[in-house]
Subunit: 235 residues, 2 copies
């Protein structure tokens, strides 16, 4: 058996040894759901960046730019942070440069890992299968909300712990707690998640449809991985 651990906030990441491990970064609402949706429907590559200005500058190099802060699109960017924007036909074969409040920072902070994989409910089973093809420990890094532990990313962590039960055992208490929580809520994730702090925050911004989309499991059978600074399809 290999181990699985769960880091509930990027602010706790120093507690985890990532070297030699696969890190699954998750930001259900909505960064990693967007990345999965885009790459599954034809986007060629996505470059995650923590800095807004650097991200914006990549427009000159032919990237479409996506920028979100506090749930809203940043001025001067081509796209905000809705998975539907990432699935637009004109993005097929194109590259996207993206910066978000929490998700891109979580990727940045996970860079000592052996591999960074992008997880969402949308590609949950695909991520689990991808991990099981390898013989490595796993740490799920939840993007959280400005460091604060959130419901939807924690639930995803629990879901992945469940899917990997045959190959990976919980390394400490957090994966055990989250798999329990996921198991009691999994039949109606939408009801539970739409009451989360972040969903309520986003609802004010009229993105209810996004939330409903992001809690669907296994819509896509793809796995984005970070290679040379870009997220691309694994394999």
């Amino acid at each position: 058996m290999r181990n699985i651990d769960v880091c509930l906030s990027p602010e706790l990441i120093h507690q985890y040894e990532l070297k030699g491990k696969i890190v699954v970064v998750v930001d259900i609402l909505r960064a990693t759901s967007c990345m999965v949706s885009g790459l599954a429907t034809g986007v060629a590559a996505i470059k995650p960046l923590a800095d807004v200005d650097i991200c914006k500058g990549l427009k000159q190099e032919g990237y479409f730019t996506a920028g979100e802060r506090n749930g809203s699109k940043v001025e001067g960017f081509d796209m905000g942070n809705s998975p539907f924007e990432y699935m637009e036909p004109h993005l097929k074969g194109q590259k996207v440069a993206v910066t978000t409040t929490n998700g891109t920072l979580a990727i940045e902070k996970s860079k000592t890992a052996d591999q960074i994989v992008i997880g969402a409910f949308l590609n949950l089973t695909a991520v689990a299968k991808y991990i099981q093809q390898q013989d490595k420990d796993v740490v799920v890094v939840c993007a959280a909300w400005k460091g604060k532990v959130n419901l939807e990313d924690s639930l995803f962590a629990g879901a992945l712990v469940e899917r990997l039960a045959a190959s990976h055992q919980p390394e400490c208490d957090v994966p055990r707690m989250m798999v329990k929580l996921y198991q009691i809520e999994k039949n109606d994730l939408f009801t539970f998640v739409k009451e989360s702090s972040h969903a309520r925050r986003l609802n004010k911004l009229d993105v209810f449809k996004d939330i409903e989309f992001c809690v669907q499991e296994d819509t896509f059978d793809i796995v984005p991985v970070l290679r040379d600074g870009h997220l691309v399809l694994a394999g």
Copy 2:
């Protein structure tokens, strides 16, 4: 309605505004369970200290000294970190100076709060009643294990959220998550908690009896509060 929030680790405490609020510090295995047990059975006052040497020095001022690091008693101290040691008859009317790996640090980091209250399963209902006599927001600060989120402190947080449901609403996702977890596990806390990382760590140190004692609810009807650097009975 007032609000209740839950800080899962002292390393996340900067995310919480404590000013004007009641902080309930919890370290089920075993610091706050010891404090509650001692004060409930006759210890006059307990002085929590983050530093081992300062704590040890208080022996000269007539304190009994209790020191624990990594689950074991520190050499040169009168007591370790078992609730049974705190209930010894010779401690009646005496003062105890205590330092532990996590619990005393959590108290130290909560000092901007309006009031610091010591919580454990042993005095759960008493703490809830004490809070409901006041009109203040509450933050539960989990001592965790060297910063890592743990099961037993998180479950206590969920238990207090449940007990305060009529007066305090969850401020963000964490209290909502933990109350769910507590509600599915509350009928057999011992089974769940004895599989926790920390319980397994302590079991090696032969303190199984302590764990069984510490997960009992409402053994004592007292509330320790911090006043002038000492924990004493409220009221």
